[in-house]
């Protein structure tokens, strides 16, 4: 297992995207900071200048190629026979992407501190009381942790799709559609009031977790779930999609 993880880190570390992603993210965060301006200083700080969205896009690009590069380079056979069990191949890829996800979120928090302190100065301090009667720094950390859970769900969906579809372009497009249209798909699903109590647990709804944390009043009307319920749903769907993804991977012929 450790051998498989080391291999995955080695490959990720040598990809250009690994090093470019934090730079691209910084540029986009600065752009967001200027675009939104100082009116929403609290929200931009909590949401790390929208870094959460940029991280999602980066993860989709890297995650979608994670399996397809193995198929395209015929490396999947070598990976599979070198690993003592098939699950190690799947799990190591997932863990490495998760670690990279955590790394990007930490970088985003770091950038936020620097940008707020030097580029987008405001009167709002990190210790000032903000959402949920908590200091701003607590809000930022909680929002980051919740976004980490949502991005894990997205990684799980990308892996599931990668096991069903060999083309990284299709996986990438489908994942982007899920992320971009998830909210409206979820709203459409819940259009029948009688079934809302059940349909509010649809997986697309869970993608609203971090957005709802930063804007509860608006998003709760759409999701019909509390933050805690959304988090529970997200974690359950991570487990379910992970198991289904691995089952498909195990059954796949190489």
């Amino acid at each position: 297992m450790i051998y498989s993880i080391k291999q995955e880190f080695f490959k990720l570390y040598h990809k250009k995207m690994f090093w470019l992603a934090p730079i691209i993210m910084l540029v986009l965060m600065i752009f967001t900071g200027y675009a939104i301006g100082s009116d929403e200083a609290r929200l931009t700080a909590v949401m790390c200048y929208d870094a959460t969205d940029w991280i999602t896009f980066i993860l989709i690009v890297i995650g979608a190629t994670s399996f397809s590069m193995e198929y395209q380079n015929n490396a999947i056979l070598t990976l599979l026979y070198k690993a003592s069990n098939k699950i190690y191949v799947y799990l190591s890829k997932y863990l490495v992407l998760l670690v990279y996800d955590i790394f990007l979120h930490l970088v985003a928090v770091g950038y936020t501190i620097v940008l707020k302190g030097f580029l987008f100065k405001s009167n709002i301090s990190w210790t000032s009381i903000n959402y949920y009667h908590q200091p701003l720094w607590v809000n930022t950390l909680q929002a980051t942790l919740l976004d980490l859970a949502v991005s894990m769900l997205i990684i799980t969906i990308i892996f599931l799709l990668s096991c069903l579809i060999n083309s990284n372009a299709v996986v990438m497009t489908t994942s982007l559609l899920v992320v971009l249209l998830g909210e409206s798909i979820s709203s459409d699903i819940m259009s029948k009031p009688k079934l809302v109590s059940v349909l509010k647990w649809n997986p697309f709804n869970m993608l609203n977790l971090s957005r709802q944390y930063g804007n509860y009043a608006t998003y709760h009307l759409t999701t019909h779930l509390s933050n805690v319920e959304l988090l529970m749903g997200t974690l359950i769907y991570i487990a379910v999609f992970f198991v289904i993804g691995y089952w498909i991977f195990r059954k796949k012929r190489f």
């Binding site: 291999q7 040598h14 015929n74 056979l77 070598t78 599979l80 026979y81 003592s84 069990n85 012929r253």
Partner: protein, 296 residues
């Protein structure tokens, strides 16, 4: 350092893709230092046999590597196996050296293989710019890393130039002399013939022959060409007595297995042999004949 230590054993192995049986009841052993040539027509099941050994397919029966069982979900026994299946497993965004580092446990071992395969000049450049032959050599290098006990090579000479082919052939022999066993499939039979010590012939998923190369060439399939004082009469005689023969120019070509019967029958008919000479074994023809015989 050749010895008779058993490296791999397949015992009544059947491989399935879906419900279709691809490999049928395969049983054979590979010993340390063996170079096994796995030969068969397209679709005979060569690659499937290799994938099955690597635990990549669903199978019944038993596969053991140095006594330890290999299953679809337990590959611990494959730690000392290197393989090149179908195409070399190479990441184009890594250099050749990094591709090797990915699998190598010992740096010195890696440096030695790079030098042995003559890859020093391009090993530090990105693999995306490699030619087919360069990729193939890198794939072979990956298979030879970490002192494997068994190396499985599927069409290893694909894309290699003459110099590289000779180099790879020498390297295979060198590793085999140290005790590494090889299972090699190739369509270039003449190349395979130069290195292999045993022949495994597969047809329709069944292992139809498992012999040492010496036995295969010299005993089973030696052909003779002969002429008699009356070939027309001899032909008629062979037909009536069920002796297989082929007419080629002025000669009648017959198998070694019929020689005593031919001499006996000709003597009974008082037909004198004018000439009878052994034909140098053409390996490719022998393989084709054996496969045809099996089909009949």
């Amino acid at each position: 350092m050749k010895n008779s230590q058993e490296v791999l054993e397949l015992d009544n192995v059947c491989t399935y893709i879906g419900r279709t049986e691809i490999v049928k009841d395969a049983s054979f052993q590979i010993k340390a230092g063996d170079i096994i040539g796995l030969i068969g027509p397209n679709g005979a099941g060569k690659t499937t046999v290799m994938k099955t050994i690597l635990g990549l397919t669903k199978f019944t029966g038993k596969i053991t590597m140095s006594g330890a069982a290999i299953t679809e979900n337990n590959h611990h026994a494959l730690e000392k196996v290197g393989a090149l299946i179908e195409h070399p497993a190479i990441y184009p965004f890594l250099t050749g050296e990094q591709n090797l580092e990915l699998y190598s446990h010992h740096h010195q071992d890696m440096v030695k293989i790079i030098s042995e395969l003559g890859m020093d000049s391009y090993i530090k450049s990105k693999a995306k710019g490699y030619s087919l032959g360069m990729k193939q050599k890198l794939g072979i290098a990956i298979a030879l890393l970490n002192n494997p006990k068994l190396v499985i090579l599927d069409e290893p000479m694909n894309g290699l130039d003459i110099e590289a082919t000779i180099g790879v052939r020498k390297l295979i022999k060198k590793y085999a002399d140290r005790g590494t066993a090889f299972l090699i499939s190739s369509h270039i039979l003449s190349e395979l013939q130069k290195v292999m010590t045993r022949v495994l012939l597969i047809s329709g998923g069944k292992i139809i022959l498992n012999q040492s190369i010496g036995q295969f060439e010299a005993i089973s399939h030696q052909k003779y060409k002969l002429t008699t004082e009356n070939d027309e009469q001899a032909e008629h005689l062979f037909k009536t007595k069920g002796i297989n023969f082929k007419k080629q120019k002025q000669y009648l070509i017959v198998g070694q297995e019929d020689i005593f019967k031919i001499q006996d029958e000709l003597a009974k008919k008082k037909l004198h042999l004018k000439e009878m000479l052994p034909i140098e074994a053409n390996f490719e023809q022998i393989v084709v004949d054996t496969l045809n015989k099996e089909r009949d």
